[in-house]
């Protein structure tokens, strides 16, 4: 096996992993604490990408555009919570699935009206374009930047949840929502804040994915499914679990696609190995999920003791 290829694929896997983590962190907090299934979480990912692309075209400064896009998406997330989801807490999950699926359609059509059906291009700034030598071969700077931002966000979340009052209330609320209220905390405001935070994280993932994938309608739904796989593997409601699960899924998926065809070619004919490798690779994370569910039904790092 080519060591360089392995290293590069590891970085690619990490990059997919941290993006999945940004998606999954919000999803798992919302699911774990509010017991709400939010299918529209992918819409925040799409919104982040579109708004960043639009603002970059407008102001031609990447970082301010990104910051504004995160704030705007957080605000949209808060609005969605207040206007729609607040009515759905405590209801059967089916209502939540229906309502948030409706939100997906709403956001997809809204984006189509505003930006048209064609994918748009998110131009990364010059200092993120290009490649640098890594292990003796060129590697895209933007992918390294995504890994760095993802890890930094994970650290920030760890601090927020582990060290701040808001984090204490998030953890307390996950175990006993009613008691938190009875001690004088406005749980609706807490939920709104968590929701806005989750939306901003999804938008960050979308904005970072923009330059390497296409910014297009429906981009959120693809990653949403992966993010659900991540939180099931990690343990629903657990941000640490989401981190571990996301890296695992990112690496397994990337290794599978890159290495399986070659591995199979050792004892299969090349064309057969390529075809079989590709299809097994696309199943790899679901096989992983099935294994985790079989041996650790509550996920690798379950939230509740």
């Amino acid at each position: 096996m080519d060591l360089l290829l392995l290293l590069q694929q590891t970085l690619n896997g990490l990059q997919l992993g941290v993006m999945l983590f940004l998606m999954a962190a919000g999803l798992t907090l919302i699911f774990g604490i509010m017991d709400l299934i939010n299918l529209a979480h992918g819409s925040f990912y799409m919104l982040g990408a579109y708004v960043t692309a639009w603002l970059v075209g407008l102001v031609d400064a990447f970082l301010p555009a990104l910051a504004l896009a995160l704030l705007a998406t957080a605000a949209v997330g808060y609005l969605v919570e207040v206007t729609t989801l607040r009515r759905l807490y405590g209801r059967d999950h089916l209502y939540q699935v229906l309502a948030t699926f409706g939100l997906i359609l709403f956001f997809n059509e809204g984006i189509k009206l505003l930006f048209g059906p064609q994918p748009i291009f998110l131009q990364p700034p010059d200092w993120l374009s290009g490649q640098i030598p890594l292990f003796g071969a060129p590697y895209p700077i933007i992918r390294l930047a995504i890994i760095a931002v993802g890890l930094a966000s994970a650290l920030l979340l760890w601090w927020l949840i582990g060290r701040t009052r808001l984090g204490m209330l998030i953890r307390a609320g996950a175990d006993d929502r009613e008691m938190v209220q009875a001690l004088g905390v406005d749980i609706a405001r807490l939920f709104g804040a968590i929701f806005a935070l989750g939306a901003a994280l999804a938008a960050l993932a979308g904005a970072m994915a923009g330059p390497i994938l296409a910014v297009r309608i429906g981009m959120g739904e693809d990653i949403l499914i992966l993010a659900f796989v991540v939180i099931v593997i990690g343990g629903i409601g657990s941000v640490r679990g989401a981190f571990v699960g996301a890296l695992l899924v990112g690496l397994v998926d990337t290794y599978g696609r890159a290495l399986l065809p070659d591995l199979l070619a050792v004892f299969l004919e090349r064309t057969v190995a390529d075809a079989a490798g590709a299809s097994i690779a696309s199943m790899a994370i679901y096989i992983l999920m099935a294994l985790v569910l079989a041996f650790r039904p509550r996920g690798l790092l379950p939230a509740r003791a």
Partner: protein, 234 residues
Amino acid sequence: MLRVEGLEAAYGDSQVLFGMELAIDHGALVTLMGRNGMGKTTTVRAILGLTPPRAGSVGFEGREIAGWPPHRIARLGIGFVPEGRRIFPRLSVRENLVATARSGEGGGRDWTLDRVLDLFPRLAERIDAMGGQLSGGEQQMLAIGRALMTNPRLLLLDEATEGLAPLIRREIWRSLSRLKREGLAILLIDKHVEPLLDLADRHFVIEKGRCVWQGSSAAFRTAMEEIKRRWLGV
């Protein structure tokens, strides 16, 4: 301070309170007694808005609070120590105390972390332990401390010493007498009330969702045998 009149509350179709009444004066220690299932916990839950009253009134400091959301009621200055203690298991002792801490109505911050740890020195020894690792007695102290950190004017204690060893029970009671001396009003639900008669001001006995007897500690002593036989014995 607190006046409950004609209170009715239900869980779904099963009504528990049928015109419950209760009154607590400033700085008073009041007990609520009754057999299991008669509505003691529901009375406390209805006062706090956790089980919204169907009818009747709950007046606190002159305001009608029936129908208010729980967090607003709590913020008026009502501290809650629930049955079963309901410590946050994955928060440390320190975090359990500070997570919901706030200054009282009017900005008073009489209860700080230091003062709570002074009241319950055992909590200071276990300050970094997780809530779920504490013994029952330590959890009870933590639950009281957690409520005090919200700087309440009235403390509602549901089953204050249930399941605790006699020594721990006495320690909890000692802390309550100190709280009363400091002017905090307390509503206490406890199976053992005799040791509290000197400390308590007034007693309410509940049966089938109604108050069937109320009176001072002196009146309770006089009528104790009958009250026990009719409404408290099993």
